[in-house]
Amino acid sequence: MSYHISLNRLRLLTAAAMVTVAGLSSATAAELIVARSVDADNLDGYKTSNTQSLQITNLIYDTLLTMDKDGSIHPGLASEWSVSDDGKTYAFTIRDGVTCHDGSTFDAAAAKASLDRALDPATVNPSLSAWGPITGSAAEGNVLTVTLSEPYGPFTSFLTSIQAPFMCPSSFAEAQFKPIGTGPFKLASWMRNDSIVLEANGDYHNTNPLIDNPGKPHLDKLTFKVIPEAVARMAALRSGEADLVEPSLEEATDLKDDENFKVYAAELSGQQVLAAFTWKIKPLDNPDIRKAIGMAMNRDAYASIAFEGLVNTANCPVAPNLFSTDEDLCASWGVTYDPEGAKALMEAAGYTADNPLKVKLLVHKLPGWDQMHQIMQQDLLAINVQAEIETREVAAFFDHMSVVNEKTDGEPAVWTMGMSGVDPDYLYFLWKRPGFVNMGLNEDLDALLEEQRRLSGDARAAKIHEAEKYLMENAYAIPLLSPGWGWLMASGAKVDGFKMGFMVSLLFNDVTVAE
């Protein structure tokens, strides 16, 4: 008995087999479990400033505008926008057909309601100042008009930030807040300190240039579990209980060379680590002493030893990738590693091995930072600066710094901190008098920081460069590294398409998980 299979039938069978095989092997799993160290504290995007919360709100809500890797601004909920000649009025055209997770329409009126709530002092929005000098807003047709009392250069950058989400009015229509947005995922459930479950928004339309997938996320379900201990998170990753985790620095180092895992670093974190001084206290009021200390700091060693090569050295007081940041330009203004030169400067000022300058090295705890400070301590000792490390918990540290930075006498201190954002305007919050924890300098820098806010484009970039140059040539700020805290994620090899956006936002729209 013989079997005759026609050519067409054979082709059909082959095609069916290929489809079946492809279906089995391709990325079809629709659920991803993410393990993080802490839970979100609030899903009301106007009441939180903590990264773990904003990582979730950024998935539920969209922003009016988006930002590409080069810092250029792109459409978001607003399909187009314009600014008046005097720079005080912005008109945003809200994209047609945007629907909220509850089915309601997101239009200009909804955008205005959300903006009004963001600016209402009763909301106690921690990011209120960053919205700028907004005096009013109006919704007409599909256009949201925002009026400012004076030009505000960082405005469009800030509108791309995860700190500036736009929520649907149904979120806050009742006393009990409900997280309802237009983002790629909608909230299914939240058990505080345990898990947040999100479901894909089937109507999603993407405009973020960092994301390839134009429509609904490939994942159907996204679960965020809270596993505080790094060891337990890694155990969850290895046992398959979690697909994507926040690894510790040490574990990330091991995983990056293991083909079964992938390590992701948020290159667009906007994070910047710097050293600063209690410059009102002698002898740190002397720029040469500050420069000498900066020249002694071996940033390459901090990056390669303390941070296991998972960060880059930084030249600017603002993170790379942000508007106007030019690492080469900053390198020409700042101090370079030169321990011999630094020692000579210190000796010229009368500080020798027998008579070292005694300073405090005031720091707070973060992964990798302890080791960096220990290397820094050795660096300083090599130029006759005896630094005593004092470590505090973060809130206590900043409280202490606000006191120490005001002092004009007492023991001088070198201190380190980190900052993040989507625009160099964070220089304003840090350095304009009185400044964050009293870091403010003088009226010259105040003027530069005020002026950059009123400018845009190249003129603004030039003014920001002036401010950066001032900080660096006078060695008020010694840029060290970027990024520097909580910027790592790790997954199994089967996870594909995961990306990290600005300010360590987590982008899941392109994610697929192979079976």
Binding site: P126, N193, A235, F397, M419
Partner: protein
């Protein structure tokens, strides 16, 4: 003049009831005052610790001017003098209001109540395991005093007291979750309680074993035990009925102490096993300087410990008539 027997029994009955009532009222009053003192002291201490909620909010990304931060403090009532903040808080607590979390904008009472069952179930599970292992071990050591079994139990007890709970927890996790794959690493389901409960149980069983041993050794030296033996009772009956039961009365105190330790001391274990109890909530609140949340935790924790201690005292009164007289 002697009272008729019936009247004497009746009088003793009511006297006993009155004594118990007096004991309960006294303990309740002391408990209330203790919680009040805890509220005031903790309120003052929290504000003495450097850093406030607004500074903590700005730790990762400064998006507020100093003026805006001052405005936020005023809105949150953090600009008031400490005594006023503490006084207002105590007044609200007395009215049954634990306030609203600064970070989550949710009711502190609701947040705590959601997690309290998890914390209690873990504490009770840990306690049951500690007792189930500790009492037999202590018994074994006491009846074999000075022998190999006694030494072995005491070595185990010293190890149990010395081994940090988080280390033991991580080892158990490595073995049972990662190597054997029997139990989950993290979460708050019924399978998730096994590892943290055993970690706590194994840690505290050492204390229970030591207390059982010393209590039993003390009882075994009593005259009535010698009398029981002299009367020819079997050793098993002497140990289990005449010695162990009175010894267990002193262990009740230890149970109260261990339970209090378990309520407060499981913060680390909750973190290791991602157990969603009030301890983890408290740790996060402390880092964020979420004052109402921290104070709420302290009030609930202190109240729980005080109530447990009170119940233990009352139970002791029922078990040991001498306590009522005292």
């Amino acid at each position: 003049m002697q009272l008729p027997l019936r009247r004497k029994v009746e009088r003793d009955f009511w006297e006993n009831r009155l004594l118990m009532l007096f004991l309960i009222l006294k303990r309740a009053l002391v408990a209330f005052l203790t919680v009040l003192v805890v509220i005031v002291l903790s309120g003052v201490l929290i504000h003495v610790v450097p850093g406030d909620p607004v500074t903590a909010m700005m730790a990762q990304s400064v998006t507020a001017t100093p003026e805006a931060m001052a405005e936020m403090r005023a809105r949150l009532g953090l600009d008031l003098p400490v005594w006023q903040q503490v006084g207002l808080y105590a007044w609200h607590v007395l009215q049954g209001d634990l306030g609203t979390s600064i970070r989550s904008s949710e009711s502190v009472a609701q947040l705590l109540l959601q997690r309290l069952p998890n914390t209690f179930s873990l504490a009770v599970s840990g306690l049951v395991i500690a007792l189930a292992i500790g009492i037999p071990l202590g018994f074994l050591a006491a009846v074999n005093r000075g022998r190999l079994a006694d030494t072995a139990v005491m070595v185990i007890a010293v190890l149990g007291v010395s081994i940090p709970a988080f280390w033991l927890g991580l080892i158990l996790m490595q073995v049972f979750s990662l190597k054997l794959g029997w139990l989950p690493v993290a979460g708050s389901g019924w399978r998730n309680i096994i590892l943290p409960a055993f970690t706590l149980g194994l840690t505290y069983c050492a204390l229970v074993a030591r207390m059982t041993r010393s209590a039993l050794i003390e009882v075994l030296a009593e005259d009535y035990i010698r009398t029981a033996r002299a009367r020819g009772l079997r050793e098993r009956q002497v140990l289990l009925v005449h010695a162990l039961r009175p010894a267990l009365i002193s262990i009740v105190t230890v149970v109260g102490l261990v339970f209090a330790y378990l309520l407060g001391g499981q913060v680390i274990i909750e973190n290791v096993f991602s157990w969603n109890g009030i301890g983890r909530l408290a740790v996060q609140a402390m880092l964020e300087r979420d004052y109402p949340m921290i104070q709420g935790f302290i009030v609930v924790f202190a109240t729980s410990v005080v109530i447990v201690s009170m119940l233990i005292d009352i139970l002791y009164g029922f078990l040991d008539p001498r306590m009522r007289q005292k």
